[in-house]
Subunit: 205 residues, 2 copies
C-alpha cells in the first residue's frame, strides 16, 4: 500500500475554486497553525507569524490588495504567512524551552548564538532569505496538514506586498511571504499539473 | 486514530546523527526527488535543481565548504537544494505538458506569462524570494517523503554559499538555498524541540 504521506504528496492539488458556503472553526485554524509550526526552522528560531483572515470583512480587505482574486474571499480562511527578518538576539529565548525540557544542554546555547550571529548580523539578504525559508517551511507543512483534514489549499504570491503590510499592520521586521487560502474544495479544480522530467532537475554525484 | 500525516508532522525531528554504515540507492534518491518536485511552485515554474552528493568523495567536498559538519558526510546523501532566480520566459515551456494533458487551456498561458512578467521582470529581490520559496517547498516535501520511507533529514544553512556555488558549478541563476542531509537516523537524536505558544504566532481576524 502506498504510504499515506506519499499518497498525499502525489494527490495534492492547488485549489482555486473553494465552496464559499463552508466555513471552518477557530479551533481548526488553530490546529492548522499548531501543526504548521512543528516544521523545522533554522536554529529553531520560529521567525514566523500567521494572520488568519476568516471573517468576510477581513477577507474582503485582503482581496482588495491581492489582485481581487476571488479565492481569497471564497476560501474559509486565507492566511497571511509572514516571515520575520532573523535576529539572533531572540535565540536564547526561543531555545529556553528546549533547555528547560532537558533536550538541549544550556552550555550549547552560546555556540548556537555565535553561529546565528555569524550568519545574520548585518547581512540583510541572509535575514530576508531566512524569513522566506521559515515562512515556506511552515506554509508547506500547513498545506499537508490541511490535506490530512480534508481541506484544500492555494499558496498565492499575486498580491501587493506593501499594501498587505500596511493594511494588516505588519511589523517592520515582517515580510508577507505568501498568502495561503484554505477551505473546502469544489470538485471542478484542476488536478496536479505534470512535472519536469527528473533528468532536468536531479544530478547524482 | 491520528492521521499518518499529522503523526509525521508531530514526530519528525531534525537528525544530526546518522548511521554512516547505511547507504541508500540511486533509486531511492530519485524517488525522494520525484516526490519533492510534486510540491507546488508559483505558476508551476519548478525553478529548482537537486544535486545529490552521495559518494564519499562528493560528500567530503561538500563537507569542506559546509563548516566541516560531520552529518554532511555521515548521511547517506546530502542534497544541495538549489532555487533558480525566476525568469518568466521559461513559463510557456513549463506549462506545455499541462496544456498537452488537457488540464490547462492553451488560451490561458499568455495571461499567466503576463502575471509572471509583472511580478518578476527586472525585480531581483522578487526573483530571489521565489528561488528561496521554490527550493523550500521542495525541501519540506522531501523531508516528509523521507519520513515516510523511514529516513531522517537535516535541513542545513551552515555553509559557504559562494564556495558551494563554485565547487559544484552552480549556474549563474542558481542559489544554494539549503543543504539537506538524508539517511538512517541513529537512536540518540534529540526529539523535536518545543515550539512557541500559539498566541505568539497566530492572529485570527
Amino acid at each position: 500500500m502506498t504510504h499515506p504521506i506519499i499518497a498525499a504528496i502525489e494527490a495534492r492539488n492547488t485549489i482555486n475554486l473553494f465552496d464559499p458556503s463552508q466555513s471552518i472553526s477557530d479551533e481548526q485554524i488553530s490546529e492548522l497553525v499548531r501543526l504548521a509550526t512543528r516544521a523545522p526552522t533554522a536554529f529553531n528560531l520560529q521567525n514566523w507569524r500567521f494572520i488568519a483572515a476568516r471573517t468576510t470583512e477581513a477577507k474582503q480587505r485582503l482581496r482588495k490588495v491581492a489582485w481581487d482574486q476571488a479565492k481569497v474571499e471564497e476560501a474559509a480562511v486565507t492566511f497571511i504567512v509572514c516571515g520575520q527578518m532573523t535576529d539572533e538576539r531572540v535565540l536564547a529565548d526561543r531555545l529556553a524551552p528546549a533547555v528547560d525540557a532537558g533536550i538541549m544542554p544550556a552550555s550549547m546555547v552560546p555556540s548556537w548564538e555565535a553561529g546565528a550571529k555569524m550568519l545574520y548580523a548585518g547581512q540583510v539578504w541572509r535575514q530576508r532569505d531566512e524569513a522566506v525559508r521559515t515562512a515556506t517551511f511552515g506554509a508547506t507543512t500547513l498545506i499537508y496538514a490541511a490535506h490530512a483534514l480534508g481541506l484544500g489549499a492555494a499558496p498565492m504570491i499575486g498580491f501587493d506586498h506593501e499594501a498587505v503590510a500596511h493594511e494588516f499592520d505588519l511589523l517592520p521586521n515582517e515580510i508577507p511571504v505568501m498568502l495561503l487560502a484554505v477551505g473546502h474544495a469544489k470538485p471542478e479544480n484542476w488536478p496536479q499539473k505534470p512535472r519536469r522530467p527528473l533528468a532536468q532537475v536531479l544530478d547524482i554525484i
